[in-house]
């Protein structure tokens, strides 16, 4: 099922790209030959539609037992959610504090035991990253209501 959905998404992607290519006004540059900015994306979109259809037909004809199943592990799902939370936290709280919280949380999830050593490691890594990027490489890391 998952394989069909992903292939279907690629097919839809082709349809969107094809539809949108008609909005790209063909300018004079190569326009007379149909070689404007819409030419290449449209060519790709058509090829994408053809091949994703072929693949869709193939997956539908496959036996049930040969289907590739998508087992999203619980841990991966938690990590994905933490990453999204981390992204928003960086903007709201600030880089240093959210990195520390993210590391502490993810290390805890992966090791499943509370350990002061892990918290100190998380603090150390956050400070090191902050030091390297903000202070040595002069990358202005985002700040929020904290740093």
């Amino acid at each position: 099922m998952a394989e069909k959905i992903l292939t279907g998404l690629f097919f839809l992607f082709g349809i969107v790209w094809l539809t949108m290519s008609y909005d790209l006004a063909s300018s004079n540059f190569g326009g007379g030959l149909g070689l404007g900015p819409d030419f290449f994306p449209r060519l790709l979109a058509i090829l994408m539609i053809i091949f994703s259809l072929i693949q869709l037909v193939r997956t539908f004809r496959k036996d049930k037992k040969d289907e590739i199943k998508l087992n999203v592990h619980g841990l991966s799902a938690v990590i994905i959610a933490s990453c999204i939370a981390y992204l928003f936290a960086i903007g709201i709280i600030g880089y240093l504090v959210s990195t520390f919280l993210f590391l502490t949380g993810v290390i805890y999830v992966l090791s499943r035991k509370r350990s002061i050593k892990d918290v100190i490691i998380a603090l150390g890594i956050s400070l090191a990253l902050y030091g390297i990027f903000q202070l040595v490489l002069k990358v202005p890391l985002p700040t929020g209501f904290l740093i």
């Binding site: 990195t99 590391l103 890594i125």
Partner: protein, 496 residues
Amino acid sequence: MELNLLLEGFQEVLIPLNILIVFGGTLMGMLFGAMPGINASMGVALLLPLTYGMPPITALTMLLGIYCGAIYGGSITAILINTPGTTAAACTTFDGHPLAAQGKAGKAIGMATISSFAGGIISIIILILLAPVLARVALKFGPPEYFALAVFGLSIITSLSSGTLVKGLIAGFFGLMLGTVGMDMMNGTPRYTFGQVALLDGFSFIPVLIGLFAVSQILINVEKLESLNMKDSKILGLLPTLKELKSVVPTILRSSLLGSFIGILPGAGATISSFICYNEAKRWSKTPEKFGKGSLEGVAAPEAGNNAATGGAMVPLLSLGIPGSETTAVLLGAFMIQGISPGPLLFRDNIGVAYGIFAGLILANIAFLIIGLFGVKGFVKVLQIPTRILMPLILTLAFVGSYSVKNNLINVGIMLGFGLVGYFMKKLKFPITPVVLALILGPMAESNLRRALIMSEGQWSIFMQRPISLVLLIITVLSLLYPIIRDMIKKPDPQA
């Protein structure tokens, strides 16, 4: 002979800061290479942000150090714990681990180090001899040849990547379509930007690369966390003796030459090279019965072969601007960030940079030789960072790396998005490499296709009339048809 150019390259590279940075880069590359679940392309993509503020030559030598170090580093875990750090070191487990089990780990690692170094250096010599010549030929290329070259590079990678051909093609078209996002380079029309100013320049390579290669792999790694932990292991035994080294010289030479040429072919990188070199070594060996039981030749052959592929892969990258593998695609992105565009013009207009790169490669090989021979015992201690700390650490590197491309969080969002795309594609057996190569080669393919068709006033036959583009396109068609023909000849497989 351009020996004086190479000497000038060395003069530029050999300043104390660069030497320190090459050693640092090589050491980090070795760590990334040795740790199972992290490979060379992830290492280069993740450590790339550290180089943004460096002068170009310094930055490039560090990245080359990471690249060479990672390919070599895979052998250490292959020998010690029977788990290859990179797929390129898979063959090294066959004889390397039996040697370690016999208490000769020191001998095996020493042999791997010396063979890797020899393979690397021989391939760099071939690179120095071949790249300028190829670049000179490529200077005569026009739009039709460049289009054919881009299509050729893409198709080979697609046909060689794991999964079915159709899935590879879908992945390739996906990457090409993503490459059309941003301003049309021929007349500035914004395309597929959905009104986002940040997308006017198209997707930045680095966040996409980090997402597709690194984040997706971390998400897969956490699912098998336990198996990736480094077991405590001690290195016993001494370095190989001079007599033992002498006995493997023919094997090293053969594998180095073979590996260099395999590396030049697009799509066939260090992994394929190590397998072929191992098989050839066995076929030519006087004692083939020892293979698989701890033969030194069996360690030397794949290690010389996979490091020789590093120099070989630089040939098309530097002289044509075409990456032949995942890692060289990341390197190409890194070069572009430093304002260096590899290709024939590099050798005409910026020959100093080209020879600086050669010198940097040689230095990187010397660096891992020294670390591998004298510092490997300390190195193994560092390797024992538990994965429960390593994986989150890599995620934070992915975040800060994507952020620092343009100092905005939009790129971090893009990185995460592509991390998810990569995760689902990997899980459902769609190959990732074609996406990245297509994203990088897409703009080159498009502009040259349009220029060629404008030259010919819309006649597609222009690609058949020019001999070089005709040959390249014929090989392209053959490489795409090959898996289909192979399947038709082979008896229908009940599993397929």
